[in-house]
Symmetry: none
Subunit: 131 residues, 4 copies
C-alpha cells in the first residue's frame, strides 16, 4: 500500500462522502494494520477518528469486512466478546479489507455517518485501489 494509493483511496472516499452530504473520518492502513493516510472532513465527529482507524485495523486483523462481524458478536453468538480482543476491534460496518490478486494489501475504515453511509463510502473508497 503506497502513500499514493492510500491517498487515492482516501480521496475517493471523500468524494463519495461529499456526494451523499455526510462528513466522514476515513483511514487507510497497510497489510500490517499500520496507518498510511487519514482525513477528517469538516464537521465529522471526533469519536470517529478512533472508530474509522479501528475499523480499518479490524478488517486487516480479521481479513474480513467489519460488517461481517456484527452478527457473530451478539449475545449468544459464536464470537461474543470478540471485539474486546486484539487491542479492541469494531464489529459494525464501515471497514473493508483491500485485496490484490487474492492477497491482503490493506484496508479502509470509514466512520461518522450511519452504518449504511459508512459502508457506502468505504465501498467507494475501496474501489479506488487500482483505479
Amino acid at each position: 500500500m503506497s502513500h499514493e494509493q492510500a491517498r487515492r483511496i482516501l480521496d475517493a472516499g471523500i468524494a463519495k462522502a461529499e456526494e451523499i452530504g455526510q462528513p466522514m473520518n476515513i483511514a487507510v492502513v497497510d497489510d500490517g494494520g499500520h496507518l498510511v493516510a487519514f482525513g477528517r472532513m469538516d464537521g465529522a465527529i471526533r469519536a470517529s477518528i478512533d472508530i474509522s482507524t479501528r475499523k480499518a485495523v479490524t478488517s486487516v486483523l480479521m481479513n474480513a469486512p467489519t460488517a461481517a462481524l456484527t452478527d457473530l458478536v451478539q449475545p449468544g453468538a459464536e464470537l461474543y466478546g470478540l471485539e474486546h480482543t486484539a487491542g479492541g476491534m469494531v464489529a459494525f460496518g464501515g471497514g473493508i479489507p483491500l485485496h490484490r490478486d487474492g492477497e491482503l494489501v490493506g484496508a479502509v475504515g470509514v466512520s461518522a455517518g450511519s452504518v449504511a453511509q459508512d459502508v457506502a463510502v468505504a465501498t467507494a473508497a475501496a474501489a479506488a485501489l487500482d483505479s
Copy 2:
C-alpha cells in the same frame, strides 16, 4: 469555554442537585474534551468522578447527548460496542454538549444519581452557559 463560564455551569448543576437532594459529580470540558471545572458534592459516589467526566468527553466526541446513544449500543442495534471505542465512552444519559451559535463549545457531564436525575442536573447546568 472560559473558567468563569465553566464554574457558572458547574454551580448551576450543584444548585439543581441540592434542590433534588442528590449529591453529584459534575464535570465541564472544553470543545476539545479537556476538563475545565469539576466538583464532587459531599456524599456523591467516587465511581462517578470518571463517569461524569467521561460523559462530558463523550458528548464532545459524538457531538450528541449521551442519552441519544443508549438505544444505539444495545445488542442487535447499529452501534453495538461503540462505547469501547475512542478511549472508552459512556452511553447512558447525563452528558450534554454545549453549543453557541451552532458551534460546539464544550460539554457537561453529571453522574451519581439515577439517569433521570443525572439528566435533570446536566440540563440545568447546560442552561447556565450564557446566563
Copy 3:
C-alpha cells in the same frame, strides 16, 4: 475533605495564581486520592490537567510533597523508576499532602507554571485547609 473545603483550597490557589500572573490547573483530592474539586484557569496548558491531578494523587499515595521525590528518582538514586509505579506518579514539585491533627485528609496539586510557581500556588492553596 468536604466539597466546601476543597473549593476553598481551590479558590485560594486561584487567588495566588492571579497574584503571580501565572494561570494554573489546580486539583484537590480526598484522602483516597479521589478528585473533589478542579479548575483550569484561562490560558493554562492542557497537559497540566493530568499533571496537577497526578501530583495531588501522588501526594496522597506517598503521603509526601512531590518535591520531596525529585532527588530520590534520579538515575542512580534509591527510588529510580518510582514514578512509573502506582499507576504513574509525578516526582517534581507542586503536589502537597494535607493533614489535620496529624492525619492525612487529602492533597492539592498545581501545574502549568515553573516548579517554583507551582509550589508557591500549592502552598497558598494548602494553607486554606482550615482557614
Copy 4:
C-alpha cells in the same frame, strides 16, 4: 483547523521531506489535539505513526514545540518524567504548535528522520498554515 488547511500543511511537509530525501510520517491535529490529516510516505518507519501524532498532540497540550521540552525532562532537570504524564508525550523535536492571531489553532508533528530533519519538515509544514 479545517480539513483543507490540514491537508495543505500535510502536503507542504511532504514536499519538504521529498526535497531533503527523507520519507516522513506527518500528522496535523486541531486545537483539541484531535487528528485532522495524516500521511505516511513510502519507506517511512511505522513507529513514527505514533511518534508524529504524539508530537502534534504534545505541542497542543504544552502549547510549545516539543524541541523546547528536551532539556527540561533530562535527569536532574526541572520536569524529569514529564513525558510520562498526560497520556504519554514526546520531548524531542518535530512537533510545532500552530497559532493564528495569538490563538492556538492546532499543531503538526513529524517523525521518521533525524530530529533536525523532523524539525525542518515540521517548520516547512507549519509555514503553510495561512499560505
